[in-house]
């Protein structure tokens, strides 16, 4: 099986990730930060190490500002609902995933007004348009770092600068870039960075996180036990306890920690370079096949490791099924949970075939994929 659905869940993982998940259950099996015994302490250590590694990866000064969630979706929900109040105004783009679009739609019901800035599938959102959309009551800008459909990168640093100047909270959905494209929350002026554990960061499914800038205090999505200030019936005010109620996903967090350590050891530039090579080969190969429409930017520099295509006159779902069953190639087809993006692209009817790469893919695999796509496009 050639696995090219890494934008959904990366596979395979570095060996150290499997080991860490195993050890988390066998050796570090206690409840972190709750009891004083060795098992609990061992789990607590892994938890804090993972925070530290993530802080290093995203250049966050204080690891305690990294909090763990179920996935990026939960992190985005916390970022949005923890800040926005009725009467606030929110700016977002037209190429967002449902993890942003749906909570935003729900917030409208609560009296939050929203401006959706038209986003170019080729160049991303225009910073000037974002700045023009900011009003007196604008509290937040929320954008993806890269589209999960076309891979198009948004100019995050420029928009971060605009947000800083206007005193607006900047929430970034890094679902397609964390671990793949360098992110510096300080240089990029990111106030909230939502990331999944199971994609570019190589962790298991069921863990993600949110970086929360030092000056922000959010309303938590839930309240409960934190192992701290236990006498009080009020949720602690300090991070991470304020946002991490209940026992965390320790095997997931341990695996995520191992994945981030792997990325730091390999170097994110090396990872990005490898994916550039593969993407260049893929894009030029696709352009040489007739009947293929490629969406998004032409150059790998302008995109994450994701590309969407259509085969003219062919159902995307069917093409993906053929790749799976006749060629043993896993890709994803359909709307990729991002109807807004497909509305922008004009692909709401047929969806697209999405090919998403990882550090573990090879040039030979890209060759096999290109041959398969050519065979399907030639047959149907």
């Amino acid at each position: 099986m050639i696995y090219l659905d890494n934008a959904a869940t990366s596979w395979p993982k570095p060996e150290c990730v499997y080991e860490a998940v195993n050890r988390a259950m066998r050796e570090w099996g206690g409840n972190p930060g709750r009891s004083g015994h060795k098992m609990s302490l061992a789990a607590g250590k892994v938890l804090e190490e993972t925070r530290l590694l993530l802080a290093r990866l995203f250049n966050a000064d204080n690891p305690e500002r990294i909090i763990f969630t179920l996935n990026a979706t939960e992190a985005i929900n916390l970022g949005l609902k923890g800040i926005l109040q009725p009467g606030d105004h929110l700016v977002t783009g037209s190429m967002e995933h449902n993890s942003v679009s749906r909570p935003v739609e729900a917030l409208k019901e609560m009296g939050i007004t929203v401006t959706k800035v038209k986003t170019s599938p080729l160049t991303g959102i225009n910073p000037v348009d974002v700045e023009n959309a900011i009003q007196e009551n604008t509290r937040m800008v929320v954008l993806n770092h890269a589209s999960n459909v076309t891979g198009t990168l948004n100019p995050i640093a420029e928009i971060g600068d605009i947000c800083r100047r206007h005193g607006v909270v900047f929430l970034v959905d890094a679902a397609q870039t964390a671990g793949i494209v360098p992110i510096d929350v300080q240089k990029m002026n990111i106030s909230l960075l939502a990331f999944p554990g199971h994609k570019g960061l190589f962790g298991p499914q069921g863990v993600g996180g949110l970086y929360i800038a030092e000056d922000l205090c959010l309303n938590p999505l839930k309240q409960g036990g934190t192992g701290s200030e236990s006498k009080s019936l009020l949720q602690p005010l300090f991070s991470p306890d304020r946002y991490e109620s209940g026992t965390p996903n320790m095997p997931g967090i341990a695996g995520l920690g191992a994945g981030v350590r792997f990325i730091l050891e390999q170097g994110i530039d090396r990872i990005r370079h490898k994916e550039h090579l593969l993407m260049t080969k893929l894009l030029s190969g696709l352009h040489n096949i007739s009947r293929i429409i490629v969406f998004g930017p032409d150059t790998p520099e302008k995109r994450a490791a994701v590309v969407s295509i259509q085969i003219k006159g062919m159902d995307s779902l069917e093409a993906a099924m053929i790749l799976d069953q006749a060629f043993e190639i896993a890709v994803r087809a359909g709307l990729h949970c991002a109807p807004d993006a497909h509305r922008t692209l004009g692909t709401l009817e047929n969806g697209t075939i999405r090919i998403s790469l990882s550090y573990y893919n090879s040039e030979e695999e890209i060759d096999i994929l290109l041959q398969a796509v050519a065979a399907i496009a030639g047959q149907s």
Partner: protein
């Protein structure tokens, strides 16, 4: 009139008698599937005075059902009545002294045990082997006897499965056949007479089992009314049968069985049969050509039904995308109907 008088022709029959009749009146029977077999069975059991009938089906009456599904009429089809509801409506007028319950559900591994809960006997009116093997598991596990029956074209078969006493259905079918490898009622047709005969045989056996008759059929009865054959075959228990010997209920525990996946975006559902097949598109196209438009290339076979907007894209390994269906069960039924499960 004495309470049993309405059954006098049956109680005078010595093998049943008043004692047998009283047993029937106290019995609870589930009929799974209210198509051609199920309507015949339910009609017989209702008239015979089985005290409680649970009729299970989620389909709606269509005009093309009337050729063989004997309880329904044109008005039911026009009203798009659920089969189980239409059946209860008609049967209540035939025998108001028994209880009849309509269950508008498709049987699956999650609900089969609750559907069969409290039943003394189950009678098979289903149209696919996978559901039958699920019923087989559930009945063996809960020690409920069941009567299996099936019909296709001009032939049919039936056998009784009594836990602890007879071989089971899985003794006969240790594994599911490959998808698309066998005909279905839609592709091969079925005569209303054979479903009538098999349904009558099944309901006779049902009554024998309920009253504890020593004359219960312990063989596999195979009938072909077009080629004039009526045969009783000996069947043996498979000494390694996973279901009745080892009590490993793979269908009930969903290790086996086909499943479905909704595809992001449209009214399309992928059906993944329990077993991967190697479908010959030419043969399949031949089977489907009278039912709609068929096209195929080396990778896929596309079928559009002529009587609805249903579309099926079939892949060589047996997986299929079913288009223009609302839910998983409809997709699975369409697969069972046209490709075969």
């Amino acid at each position: 009139m004495r309470p049993l008088d309405r059954y006098s022709r049956q109680t005078i029959f010595q093998e049943i008698g008043e004692e047998g009749q009283l047993k029937l009146l106290q019995s609870k029977v589930a009929v799974i599937g209210m198509g051609a077999l199920g309507t015949v069975i339910a009609n017989n059991l209702c008239r015979a005075g089985v005290g409680y009938l649970r009729l299970v089906d989620r389909d709606y009456v269509e005009l093309s059902n009337l050729q063989r599904q004997t309880l329904y009429n044109e008005q039911d089809a026009a009203d798009q009545m659920p089969k189980a509801v239409a059946a209860v409506k008609h049967l209540e007028k035939i025998n108001s002294e028994i209880q009849i319950e309509a269950v508008l559900k498709d049987v699956n591994s999650g609900n089969v045990e609750s559907i069969l809960d409290g039943m003394d006997l189950v009678v098979d009116g289903t149209d696919n082997l996978e559901t039958r093997l699920l019923i087989n598991d559930a009945c063996l596990k809960n020690n409920i006897p069941w009567v299996h029956g099936a019909a296709l074209a001009g032939s049919g078969l039936t056998m009784n499965i009594i836990p602890g006493q007879t071989p089971c259905l899985r003794c006969l079918h240790p594994e599911l056949p490959a998808p698309g490898s066998h005909p279905t009622c839609s592709t091969a047709g079925v005569l209303g007479m054979i479903t009538g005969i098999i349904g009558c045989l099944e309901s006779t056996e049902a009554i024998k089992i309920l009253i504890g008759s020593p004359r219960i059929n312990r063989k596999l009865c195979v009938v072909n009314i077009w080629y004039n054959q009526f045969t009783y075959l000996d069947i043996e228990q498979n000494p390694r049968c996973l279901a009745c010997v080892e009590h490993k209920f793979e269908y009930l525990n969903s290790v086996k069985g086909s499943y479905t996946v909704s595809l992001c975006g449209r009214d399309s559902i992928q059906v993944i049969p329990a077993k991967a097949g190697d479908i010959d598109f030419q043969t399949m196209a031949e089977k489907l050509k009278n039912l709609g438009t068929v096209k195929y290339n080396p990778f896929t076979l596309n079928f559009s039904a002529s009587n609805s907007n249903l579309e099926i894209t079939l892949f060589q390994d047996g997986r299929a995308i079913i288009k223009n269906v609302k839910d998983d069960q409809t997709a699975k039924s369409a697969y069972a109907e046209y490709i075969g499960l």
